[in-house]
């Protein structure tokens, strides 16, 4: 169940009550584990078996790696084949069948594909990557196999980050399972305040301001004029940030109320200076995963400049495909791969002229953000033709729209103002940690902020039940 539902509020209240009522730490962890399965079952109870299978399978593989070190490589391959196989069937099965059918038809073979409707288990990409990271780390001797099955099961099924991350490493989570988490009112309150901030980002900024405009423009790009097209691009750029960052903040918040710390997933991404910088600030847990388990495994930047470029391109294209079975995601990944490669070249040439001053950084950050925003077009567009139409409209070379789009001018202005505010906020807090920043506020300011956010959620929330964008990945 998403965090912005009444069901979650009741579920979470019951979890907190149950969790802190149980005095025994092992029982508490078992309770949390059970809650994770219940949380997952709220989407489709059948797929809980997949989660349990994934947990049992990788637990056994890791144990066998320790018992039979001579077979480590075979076990690693087996685990990766099974994990990626499941991901492949559920996530890419339909696309592969469709592509195969198209090629077969093109080659003159009348192949009729089976008419299966494959239902994508929610969050499969996240927990598969999480269990894969555990197995690879055990293989690389970076971590020891988990001592307790319960701890490992909790690591996989921990409900705050189960369906949309952040993708947690075992060495970040398992040590936290060793000691009991005492009831700490201030810590729980801090978590609840973060939850309010996360919900505000999702309900008000993403669903209330950004999503309506983004939906109109991206659903009917042919009817947009140049100003509306730019507005739509900014709206989706804002929507995806507030949606995903809001979700992650809720996940961190829920974990914190239970005494656990999850890794940060966003660090002022729209204040980035360059694309490499962006990828160290956007969906950090996925970027880290791709870097450590894919980019470095391919050789990283250790071999040659050309090989580095190839590795970057492969990493980013697979990162794009991770988001879903669509050629547009692959294109989005390729665009980012190209940007990273180009940036490396520019850096080499322009480094002597660069000075770390506002005069240089503001235009560079602005340029980075504009290009990042434009790169979201293939990510959000429904088809390649829609993407082309929108790109043409952005530069004013499309045919005139036949139907006028009905966009509330006030909402459109709010999109632009909110995005400018977001950029400014991100740029000027590039080096400052969000959590440290809010902790420095005085008690009265905290009260004022949380009250205002809660009141705005109450007054302007509801009436829209958009799911979190990243649940589909």
């Amino acid at each position: 169940m998403p965090f912005n539902t009444y069901t979650f509020i009741i579920f979470f209240g019951a979890v907190l009550l149950g969790y802190y009522s149980v005095p025994n730490w092992a029982l508490r962890k078992a309770f949390l584990c059970l809650c994770g399965y219940l949380f997952y079952a709220a989407w489709n109870p059948i797929f809980v078996t997949l989660l349990i299978f994934s947990t049992l399978f990788d637990w056994t593989i890791a144990k066998q790696m320790a018992i039979r070190p001579q077979h480590k490589k075979c076990l690693l391959i087996l685990s990766i084949v099974i994990s990626l196989g499941l991901l492949g069937v559920f996530k890419y099965g339909e696309l592969l069948i469709k592509t195969f059918t198209n090629w077969a038809t093109w080659l003159g073979w009348q192949y009729k594909a089976p008419s299966w409707k494959i239902i994508l288990p929610v969050g499969i990409s996240f927990y598969t990557f999480q269990t894969m990271s555990y197995i690879i780390d055990v293989y690389r001797n970076k971590v020891l196999p988990a001592k307790s099955f319960l701890d490992y099961a909790l690591y996989v099924s921990f409900f705050p980050q189960l369906v949309a991350g952040p993708i947690v490493r075992s060495d970040e989570f398992l040590p936290q399972c060793e000691t009991i988490k005492p009831f700490n009112l201030e810590k729980i309150s801090f978590g609840l305040c973060l939850l309010v901030i996360g919900l505000f980002m999702k309900i008000i900024l993403s669903d209330g301001i950004m999503a309506p405009v983004a939906d109109i423009i991206f659903n009917t790009p042919a009817n947009a004029n140049t100003w509306q097209a730019w507005c739509g691009v900014l709206a989706f750029s804002g929507q995806i940030f507030f949606d995903f960052c809001g979700y992650t903040l809720c996940a961190i918040a829920a974990a914190k109320t239970l005494g656990f710390n999850l890794p940060e997933n966003f660090r002022a991404p729209y204040g980035s200076i360059g694309f490499a910088d962006f990828w160290q600030r956007w969906h950090i847990s996925l970027s880290r995963w791709l870097r450590d388990y894919l980019y470095i495994s391919l050789g990283g930047n250790r071999i040659s400049p050309s090989r580095t470029a190839i590795n970057l391109m492969i990493t980013m294209m697979l990162g794009g495909l991770w988001h879903g079975a669509s050629w547009l995601f692959l294109l989005w990944g390729a665009i980012h791969g190209t940007l990273l490669i180009a940036e490396r070249g520019c850096k080499y040439l322009l480094k002597p002229y660069y000075r770390n001053t506002l005069f240089f950084n503001i235009p560079l950050s602005l340029l980075t953000t504009i290009i990042i925003c434009l790169s979201w077009i293939p990510f959000r567009a429904s088809s390649i033709s829609d993407m082309q139409i929108l790109l043409q409209t952005l530069i004013g070379i499309s045919t005139l729209p036949t139907t006028k789009l009905d966009i509330d001018i006030l909402i459109a202005e709010m999109v632009v103002i909110t995005f400018i505010a977001l950029f400014t906020w991100h740029f000027f807090r590039r080096e400052r940690d969000f959590f440290q920043l809010i902790n420095q506020l005085s008690a009265n300011v905290k009260l004022l902020i949380i009250t205002s956010l809660l009141l705005i959620i109450y007054l302007f929330g509801g009436g829209d039940d958009r799911a979190f964008i990243y649940f589909q990945f």
Partner: protein, 365 residues
């Protein structure tokens, strides 16, 4: 520019504990308290202006009740039809009298046939049904309107994740308790419209409860305008009334034209009645009863109904083929109720009407 996609793995692992027991409890407890006080203030303010909570009678709410009809099995008493049965039956009273769980599946302003068909096609429906049937609706039995859309919404809802269905129920419950969330609207809009820019201080005449029963309080509407509008809508005529100097003259213009309203084609009526009875037969084969109930109408509305499909002729055909039928116009215990708009019962008569109807039903058995 900053570092490229790095090969180092040295950054901090998990988000550290920053709060160091800094005071956050004041912020969360204080803010929840303040917001609750604000909500209570507006709720009290609106209640003092005679507003009451009302949910939105939406396809989602209907789908929720439709699912309940399947779940309840033999315990269900399903009400099908239109606004008349939705406004005229007191569900609590009916439950008390019958010992069954009433499920309100009537849809305001919609054809009942898609609902009846959906019920007939579901083998899990084992409860008895009361079908609010006006003889005039039979010639238009296959009209496509929101009845079909709501049935489709139910079928879609069955595919939705479990949490969505639970959340819908919680949303409806909350809406039925809070005026500031009236009909699922954003509280900002409700507060702005009803507190800061009120056009009236009498509250809404129509309230929808979370079980989809509705209360109409006609003391809150302007009469006879409301009745005249009902007559105009029901007549399907667009008569010139510019010359009328009073409400009575408007009514007189329409009354004079009643005889010009075309009668229903009896061949179509009979053909459609057969189709209708086929569905009823399917339901009854499962051991459930289907009672046809003609809800009361009066004044010019009844006159128009009689013109389109004379009761003696049409109703006779229905009762001959389906004896488990009650006509409120012909039943002495049900015909005496005052219908302010000629078509619907006022909330104050609901309970009494339900009582009388239940006794009429027991006599029928």
């Amino acid at each position: 520019m900053t570092a490229p996609l790095s090969t180092s793995n040295s950054e901090s692992k998990s988000q550290p504990d920053f709060f160091d027991d800094k005071p956050w409890s004041l912020a969360i407890i204080g803010s929840i308290f303040i917001v609750l006080v604000i909500i209570l203030f507006f709720e009290y303010n609106l209640r003092s202006r005679h507003w009451t909570p009302t949910v939105s009678d939406s396809p989602e709410l209907w789908a929720q009740e439709r699912a309940r009809a399947s779940q309840l099995g033999k315990k269900a008493l399903i009400l099908i039809g239109g606004s008349r049965i939705q406004l005229g039956i007191d569900l609590n009273e009916l439950e008390k009298l019958s010992g069954k769980k009433p499920v309100q599946l009537a849809i305001d302003g919609a054809n009942f046939y898609p609902v009846l068909k959906n019920i007939a096609e579901d083998p899990q429906i084992l409860g008895d049904s009361i079908l609010d049937l006006n003889e005039n609706s039979i010639p238009k039995l296959f009209a496509i309107d929101k009845g079909s859309d709501w049935v489709a919404a139910y079928e879609r809802q069955q595919q939705q994740p479990l949490y969505r269905r639970v959340d819908q129920q919680l949303h409806n419950t909350l809406t039925s308790l809070m005026i500031t969330k009236m009909e699922g609207a954003k509280p900002a809009k409700v507060i702005n419209d009803l507190v800061f820019h009120p056009k009236q201080n009498t509250g809404s005449y129509l309230i929808t409860h979370s079980n989809r029963s509705r209360d109409a309080d006609y003391s809150k509407v302007k009469m006879p305008d409301f009745y005249i509008n009902r007559v105009i809508r029901h007549s399907l005529l667009n008569l010139p009334t510019e010359t009328a100097n009073s409400y009575q003259q408007v009514l007189d213009i329409y009354a004079a034209e009643i005889s010009n309203i075309p009668q229903a084609d009896q061949q179509i009526f009979e053909k459609n009645l057969v189709e209708l009875l086929l569905l009823i037969n399917i339901i009854e084969k499962r051991g459930s009863k289907v009672i046809i109930l003609r809800m009361p109408t009066s004044k010019l509305i009844l006159a128009m109904d009689k013109q389109r499909c004379p009761i003696d002729l049409c109703w006779q055909k229905i009762i001959t083929q389906h004896p488990a039928s009650i006509n409120s116009v012909l039943e002495p215990s049900l015909s005496g109720f005052y219908l302010p708009d000629g078509s619907h019962l006022d909330q104050k008569d609901k309970k009494q009407f339900t009582n009388s109807l239940y006794h009429a039903l027991t006599l029928l058995h």
